[in-house]
Symmetry: C2
Subunit: 214 residues, 2 copies
């Protein structure tokens, strides 16, 4: 009772900022930007909205901080894969594994990705500039693997777009999956991952053993 009056840095300190970011990621990822209110976030945190506005000057500011934070996480996750030295479909497999792990453990992250890549999103450029390097690296990877004859030749950027759509969709479209009869159980998820890899393997395998393109 009396403790409640003893607010100040001792009670929470700067880790409040961390907690706000976490809860905000959750809410923005699950409900979207517009459907998330500062009051709601504050209530979930057991603090007042004004404390949020102390750490982040506005709702949009908070949103952008969440994006930056998440982009850093994503970059780390994929750096790990690309540093693994795997080649061809094995690296693709590793990325798919990573994506599914994310979908199971932190679905909000993928929700945020979905939210922020919505056509016309005002903050699209935010995640874009953060994630752009990842895309460039992935494109280079595809190009290399094409030359090495391990992946079917095509426009690497376009192919990457197809891959992205397929993987993110497969990982994100839970409601659609449910509609076609897959309840979101672990078993069904594992099956989805396996089918996805089969699909990608078919889509990426080089038709001819070693197509040489100048």
């Amino acid at each position: 009772m009396v403790d409640e009056l003893r607010y100040g840095s001792v009670v929470a300190g700067a880790d409040t900022k961390r907690r706000i970011l976490d809860v905000a990621l959750d809410a923005f990822g699950r409900d979207g930007y517009a459907a998330t209110s500062l009051d709601g976030l504050a209530e979930g945190l057991g603090i007042r909205k004004q404390t949020i506005l102390y750490w982040f000057s506005s709702k949009r500011d908070l949103f952008e901080a969440v994006i930056d934070d998440t982009a850093a996480d994503l970059a780390d996750a994929f750096d790990e894969v690309s540093d693994s030295g795997l080649t061809g479909l094995e690296q693709v497999q590793a990325i798919v594994d990573q994506a599914f792990r994310l979908a199971v453990r932190r679905p909000e992250v993928l929700g945020l990705v979905r939210e922020v890549t919505r056509p016309g999103s005002l903050t699209a450029s935010r995640l874009a500039t953060r994630v752009r390097p990842l895309f460039d690296r992935a494109r280079d990877f595809l190009l290399r693997e094409m030359h090495a004859g391990r992946i079917r030749c095509s426009d690497p950027a376009m192919l990457l777009l197809s891959l992205y759509s397929t993987v993110v969709g497969m990982v994100t479209e839970l409601e659609v999956a449910r509609t076609v009869g897959f309840e979101p159980t672990l078993r069904a998820t594992v099956m989805r991952r396996r089918e996805l890899m089969r699909f990608l393997r078919a889509a990426l395998s080089p038709e001819n053993p070693a197509p040489v393109i100048a």
Copy 2:
């Protein structure tokens, strides 16, 4: 001036309902449910919010009406394809064409699909039950084509999920496309469609058996 006072059924009549549905589809599809306000819609229509609430008893009611309406449109578009009698990859091609046409001419529709298939969406079941028959038909189609040897064998429902993800993603992810360097021009769209078909052809062709990895 004086005309404005002469409201009543003569001025607009029941086509007001139609106009509301159209504008609402636009807004819900572009901005999402939460970011759309009845006042905003009304202003865009040159009427008062209360008129909207006369035709639709609540915002949610309007949203569901829009979904039903859109589902009917989608069903028509795909009935057309499946009645065409095309087989194998040719029907797939026809569906992709249909999807791209939709993306160019009525992007809001795909925006609505995206909105309503969001994980945890409260109205997911709405579109789901409406679109379910389409999915079933598509699955049967895939199964038939597999037996006929025109499409690579796999679990048809799972394969359908992959196809859905790829096509909808490719058609929807405009911001991601921009990030990898494709401005949303007509030319780039045509290229995206072509690449998508190449991708799907590779993924579906039976004569491209995936190397089996346990």
